[in-house]
């Protein structure tokens, strides 16, 4: 099973320390019971295989797959070849969702690219704020995935393989390292906009114990499901009820000695503490006006709304989620997964992408700057990207007027990272002249995952879980994945 042991001491210094009023000596007297592991706290904070650079991860998942060719990967030659047929050499093996191969034409980007920071990193005109963070950003333009359709590719990105029932990255980190704050979940999920096609499979614990599942937090109202007392029940009676419950459970424990009961008692107490702690996370009243402005928490929706992003205040929700992410890592949450889905721009690319990019640009830049100012960026890894990229070809789907979008493209796409010891001001890899596939330094998703884990002090080969007779891990066991040293400083 896990190669990282959970010690009984961890349990007592973390989970049980807040056992309001429980006779700890009763629990301590039953050392044998705890030693079996049934009652050991699976979320206890624990070290990895080697010293870690990063402690927390904020993963911003742009589900639907944004166009790297209109945001990050600047291709001057593609601009010149606009409207030309795709090269014969590429046509042979290509696979598309909707593009008709015979009549497909290369499509230039309507964006203007400029270089930013000391390193001269390229960003399109849709991302002016991110450009100011260039020297903290590690850009990868040669990401590759095995998958072509949304849900399988999203699983690939979150779980390392395109199969159902596998744990997601956040679950692996929770399982491997536990978490620092026992009053909050180790792994939280913030979802804004239209739901992602993967739904809850994108934060599933898979075969790992369910305590490592991502907990979906709401950005408005009570952040965790079932967090509030039932209507009409005051805190005083909640506490009194829990006291009675604890005493009754403890009587039972003394009678039949099952450590699961002790664990149950501790969990009810933790639930009570969560009730107090978790709402503090979403209460933004302690944030300065400047901070709220930096993130754009109160930005209005642009006059020209997007057609596909869903209803409500998308701009405000996404900005709030970025700010919440900082508050969570500040509070010791291990993994924050921000999911925003509506990047599947088969058509109306220019309009839709402008809306989306404008929405994310300022808040993500603010997040990176805010973390940096607070001295948290070194130990917080920010990762951002979609599940694949989009084609240099315009999408000529039959029955649609004009060519205004791009199709799915798994062979080369861009992702970027910042903090957690990654190499700032560095662009990794280079695609060919039209951005079709990597010309050098391809990065498979599993390589990226192995590298991420390394920054957390984890050897991706050694963080395993035995199921169905096999020691499984985040990176696909049938594929050789490797840490890419160039990505880290």
């Amino acid at each position: 099973m896990n190669t990282i042991d959970v010690t009984r001491r961890d349990f007592f210094t973390t989970a049980a320390s807040g056992l309001g009023g429980i006779a700890l000596s009763t629990l301590l007297d039953q050392q044998g019971a705890f030693a079996t592991g049934a009652a050991a706290n699976p979320l206890a904070n624990k070290p990895g295989h080697f010293p870690a650079k990063a402690k927390s991860c904020i993963y911003i998942f742009l589900a639907g797959a944004p166009s790297q060719l209109d945001l990050f990967d600047h291709k001057p030659v593609l601009q010149k070849l606009d409207g030309q047929k795709m090269p014969e050499s590429l046509a042979a093996g290509a696979k598309f969702a909707f593009i008709q191969k015979d009549t497909a034409r290369l499509m230039a980007s309507n964006r203007k690219f400029t270089q930013h920071g000391q390193s001269g990193m390229w960003f399109s005109d849709l991302l002016p704020h991110l450009g100011t963070c260039a020297d903290d950003i590690c850009m990868i333009n040669t990401m590759q995935t095995d998958q072509f359709n949304h849900h399988p590719a999203q699983l690939m990105m979150q779980c390392g393989q395109a199969r159902f029932g596998l744990p997601t990255m956040g679950s692996w980190l929770s399982y491997g390292l536990g978490t620092e704050n026992q009053n909050l979940p180790s792994y939280v999920v913030l979802s804004a906009g239209r739901g992602s096609s993967g739904g809850a499979t994108l934060w599933s614990n898979g075969y790992l114990p369910s305590v490592h599942a991502g907990v979906l937090l709401r950005s408005q109202g009570p952040p965790i499901l079932d967090l509030e007392n039932p209507a009409g029940l005051p805190d005083m009676l909640q506490r009194k009820g829990l006291d009675v419950l604890r005493e009754l459970n403890q009587r039972r424990y003394e009678e039949i000695h099952d450590p699961e009961i002790a664990s149950r008692i501790a969990n009810y107490e933790m639930a009570f503490r969560m009730q107090t702690e978790a709402p503090k996370l979403t209460d933004l009243s302690s944030e300065t006006k400047q901070t709220l402005e930096d993130y754009g928490v109160n930005r209005p929706e642009p006059a020209e709304r997007s057609g596909s992003a869903g209803v409500g205040d998308q701009f405000s929700s996404f900005a709030t989620n970025c700010l919440l992410a900082r508050r969570m890592v500040e509070s010791g949450v291990r993994f924050v997964n921000i999911i925003f889905a509506s990047w599947d721009h088969h058509s109306n690319l220019d309009k839709e992408l402008r809306y989306n990019a404008t929405m994310i640009d300022q808040p993500i830049a603010a997040l990176i700057n805010d973390l940096k100012q607070r001295g948290l960026l070194d130990e917080t890894m920010v990762v951002c990207g979609g599940e694949f990229g989009r084609t240099p070809l315009g999408e000529n789907r039959p029955g649609r007027d004009g060519v205004t979008g791009r199709d799915h493209h798994p062979t080369a796409f861009s992702m970027f990272m910042a903090g957690g010891g990654v190499r700032g001001g560095y662009t990794h890899g280079e695609t060919d002249e039209i951005g079709w596939s990597p010309a050098r330094d391809p990065v498979h998703i599993n390589d990226l995952q192995a590298t991420m884990l390394k920054q957390f002090g984890i050897d991706h080969l050694r963080l395993t879980y035995r199921t169905q007779g096999v020691n499984l891990r985040l990176t696909n066991i049938t594929r050789e994945a490797g840490v890419i040293d160039a990505l880290v400083s």
Binding site: G165, G199, P230, G469
Partner: protein
């Protein structure tokens, strides 16, 4: 102890040592010089080198590079045959009985880092010596326990208790006393029906201490229609049952419940497990099959189905077929056959070709849709005919685009659109899907290189359906084996695995833990049986005496003293037997997700006992209902009694699972799940305390207690006592009553001054004439009872 040690072939030396079997390993591991020449110990009481225990773990360190996937330098250590075969150097790595002729020995012992194997971490000296000793004695490789058929017991005294006591006696441990009558009836009720016994039933059972009363209780519970509901859910976990297709679209499958209801009925009718198997694997191929036989084949239609635009329909179909074989492997054979879709099995005796030979059984099974088992009831005959015709046309159109797709991959999207249209048609008109073997244009089956549907290996011709060679031969009815032959083969009495695998799971559902702790993997890397004699006897009994009757096997097990033992943990055994493998007591599992809600709403008097029918929608948080991309299918909370149906009937949407199910370890239906997790965490506590469903149960529970003999003005004591009898099936102790009464008093005082909050807390479950403050105080108190560990634990 006397050890007879054989040195190479034939020569014997006798070594006398004062040591137990445990020390033998120490001897083996420390006396390198002696043991490098030493062979097997013949005294079978002393545990000489045991391949499974001593050698296999060492070889496991090699399989990463020398196994079924990679065979570096032409060496595989997966079987004796492969180990002794010539490698790329034309010489074998190991010569049985001859260390000096075995290059492997030099490689593992070498000091030269370039030579030494394994290259990263060398073997421990003790491991090297053990391997040498094993090679010297002839590299014996016993066949895997699970692949030899279970034999009938050698003793007349065979029984559950006989085999359990035998193991306990070896360790000098006495079994636990029987649990008290109250615990027993609650245990039996939860295990067999998943519901609580009523206080009256408990009372009657407590007052009739006879053995017949126990037997009659078991009979009554097994005859209850709720037995089928309870055990159907176990099977649905294995069938990866869901009410939606999964993936992005996650379209509802309005007909899925026909399968669920078929399982419930089959269990209630005690359909023998062999028939149950045959109908699900190949009901459509049975001569004169009934509608129900066709519904049974929906087992295979529980795979996910990707209707997203741009999906390659053939790729998705291939995934479904592969999933069917993998699932069959897990559920009936407890074998990880799915490993072989890309490569030979890394350590069990199955290869990739055998996997695709199994795929060949399923490769021509398509789905059909029709009005089955009364699904046309509300329609006029002419309408039914019209719809049938319409569907036929749609199916024909689908076949036409499929043919085009064979030549031009880019039309796959048309296929997906037709498939989506067909799904909507079936949903809209109430047609039921089932498996139907195609008779024309049959597909040929090939090994798919690395599982890639675009890379069939066509050299050597297509594969005929067949079963892995290491199993007993399949009898076939005609010229070409088909699914029906496969089904008969699975349940043939000679099959070594199926009865063991099935009996192990029945045991698991009655003890909270299986005898083989990896119920989905009986292969070489799975667990050993904690009591092999018992498992084998049960398996043999199940097939022969039991004639595959599940109810008979359940009766056999629950009748035993082993089952009836108290579950009180025995601290003195904590070190000797931490996992309770020896069964010196019963276990105390938390009840499963669905049962937790079932008993909460049962205790509160809300539960509807209606059996079967379309799915229902109990309240789920809006955030979950909305998160699925398939937002067009809104989640509308059921009204009336459908709000309070058993958890088995909750609509299961793959991308938006009811959190009350997921939080309590209900599987996600992505793959067969023979055993659920049994986790214990803080989010569960939040759900039990605050979730809408559980809070409503507390409101109604309070109402139920208040309504009891309202006229006669029952005392607080008496009401709390009733609460205990209903929820825990036992009398409360005075101290327990005092604690709850104290809470009740405080709550009363509070709500007297806060009438608005009182009304809020009571919600929709106010009791007519009762003062809201009194009513609310009871809600605040009764919710504690529903949160007791004892309430949701099967003791």
């Amino acid at each position: 102890m006397t050890l007879v040690l054989r040195v190479f072939a034939g020569t014997k030396i006798v070594l006398r040592a004062m040591c137990s079997s445990a020390c033998l390993m120490v001897l083996l591991l420390n006396s390198g010089t002696l043991l490098s020449m030493v062979g097997a110990a013949e005294d079978d009481k002393t545990n000489p080198i045991d391949f499974t225990r001593d050698i296999q773990p060492i070889l496991d360190k090699c399989v990463g590079c020398h196994g079924g996937v990679k065979k570096n330098a032409g060496l595989s250590v997966l079987s004796r045959e492969l180990l002794l075969a010539p490698t790329d150097s034309d010489e074998p790595a190991v010569v049985a009985g001859d260390i000096s002729a075995s290059p492997l020995v030099d490689r593992i012992s070498s000091d030269d880092p370039d030579e030494r194997m394994p290259p990263e971490e060398p073997l421990e000296p003790g491991e090297i010596e053990a391997l040498k000793a094993w090679i010297a004695q002839g590299a014996q490789w016993p066949s895997h326990w699970a692949y030899a058929p279970p034999r009938p017991a050698k003793t007349e005294a065979a029984s559950v208790d006989h085999f359990v006591l035998k193991q306990l006696a070896k360790k000098g441990i006495a079994p636990s006393e029987s649990a008290d009558r109250r615990t027993l009836i609650r245990r039996l009720s939860l295990d067999i029906t998943g519901l609580l016994p009523t206080p009256i039933e408990v009372d009657a059972f407590v007052h009739d201490q006879s053995d017949e009363a126990y037997v009659q209780l078991v009979d009554r519970l097994l005859a209850s229609p709720h037995y089928g509901e309870r055990w159907a859910r176990h099977w649905l976990d294995e069938a990866r049952y869901a009410d939606s297709d999964g993936y992005e679209k996650d379209t509802p499958k309005n007909d899925s419940y026909y399968f669920r209801d078929w399982v419930v009925r089959s269990l209630n009718d005690d359909m023998p497990f062999d028939q149950f198997t045959i109908k699900q694997i190949a009901g459509d191929l049975l001569p004169e099959h009934t509608d129900d036989d066709l519904v049974a084949t929906k087992f295979h239609l529980q795979t996910q189905f990707n209707l997203e635009g741009g999906v390659d329909s053939e790729e998705d179909r291939t995934k479904r077929i592969i999933d069917r074989v993998s699932t069959l492997g897990t559920v009936w054979l407890a074998s990880t056959l799915g490993c072989c879709q890309c490569h030979d099995h890394p350590y069990d005796p199955f290869n990739q070709r055998e996997f695709y030979s199994m795929v060949a059984f399923f490769n021509n099974a398509d789905f059909a849709g029709d009005f089955l088992s009364g699904s046309e009831k509300s329609k006029k005959p002419e309408e039914v005919e019209k719809l049938r015709k319409e569907r036929q046309d749609k199916q024909t159109a689908l076949l036409a685009v499929l043919k085009v797709q064979l030549e031009d991959k880019s039309t796959s999207n048309d296929v997906i659109q037709h498939l989506g249209g067909l799904r909507n048609f079936d949903n809209q008109h109430g047609l039921v899907r089932y498996l139907r073997e195609r008779t024309e244009d049959r597909r040929q089956t090939y090994v798919l290189s690395r599982g890639d549907f675009q890379r069939p290996i066509t050299e050597g011709g297509d594969l005929a359906p067949s079963t892995p060679v290491m199993f007993p031969t399949m009898k076939i009815r005609g010229d070409v084996p088909d699914r029906l032959d496969l089904a008969h083969w699975l349940v043939s009495p000679e099959h070594p695995l199926v009865a063991r695998v099935a009996a192990n799971k029945i045991w698991m559902h009655l003890f909270g833990r299986p005898l083989v702790s990896s119920p989905g993997d009986f292969g070489s890397r799975g667990a050993l049986a904690s009591n092999q004699e018992l498992l084998d006897w049960l398996a043999h009994w199940y097939v022969h005496e039991g004639a595959w009757s599940r109810k008979a096997l359940i009766r056999l097990i629950v009748d035993s003293d082993t089952y009836r033992q108290s579950s009180t943990v025995r601290p003195e055994l904590e070190q000797i037997d931490p996992d309770n493998d020896l069964l010196a007591r019963q276990n105390r599992p938390r009840v499963e997700a669905e049962i937790l809600r079932d008993i909460a709403i049962q205790a509160s008097g809300l539960l509807s006992r209606k059996i079967g029918g379309p799915c229902v929608f109990p309240p789920i948080p809006a955030i979950i209902a909305e998160q699925t991309y398939a937002g067009q299918n809104k989640f509308k909370v059921s009204e009336g009694e459908d709000r309070y149906r058993r958890g088995l009937y909750t609509f299961f949407r793959r991308t938006a699972i009811d959190p009350n199910l997921a939080t309590f370890d209900c599987p996600d239906s992505s793959a067969a799940k023979p055993q659920r997790d049994n986790s214990n965490n803080a989010l569960q506590a939040l759900a039990m305390l605050q979730n809408e469903v559980f809070h409503e149960a507390a409101q109604a529970f309070a109402g139920r207690l208040l309504k009891l003999s309202m006229a006669s003005g029952l005392s607080d004591h008496a009401r709390i006592r009733q609460g205990y009898l209903i929820a825990l099936s036992r009398e409360p102790a005075t101290e327990e009553i005092d604690l709850l009464e104290n809470l009740l008093q405080q709550a009363r005082e509070y709500y007297k001054s806060q009438p608005d909050e009182a009304i809020q807390l009571i919600g929709n479950h106010a009791v007519g004439d009762v003062d809201p403050a009194e009513n609310a105080a009871w809600v605040a108190t009764s919710r504690v009872i529903l949160n007791l560990d004892e309430f949701f634990t099967r003791n």
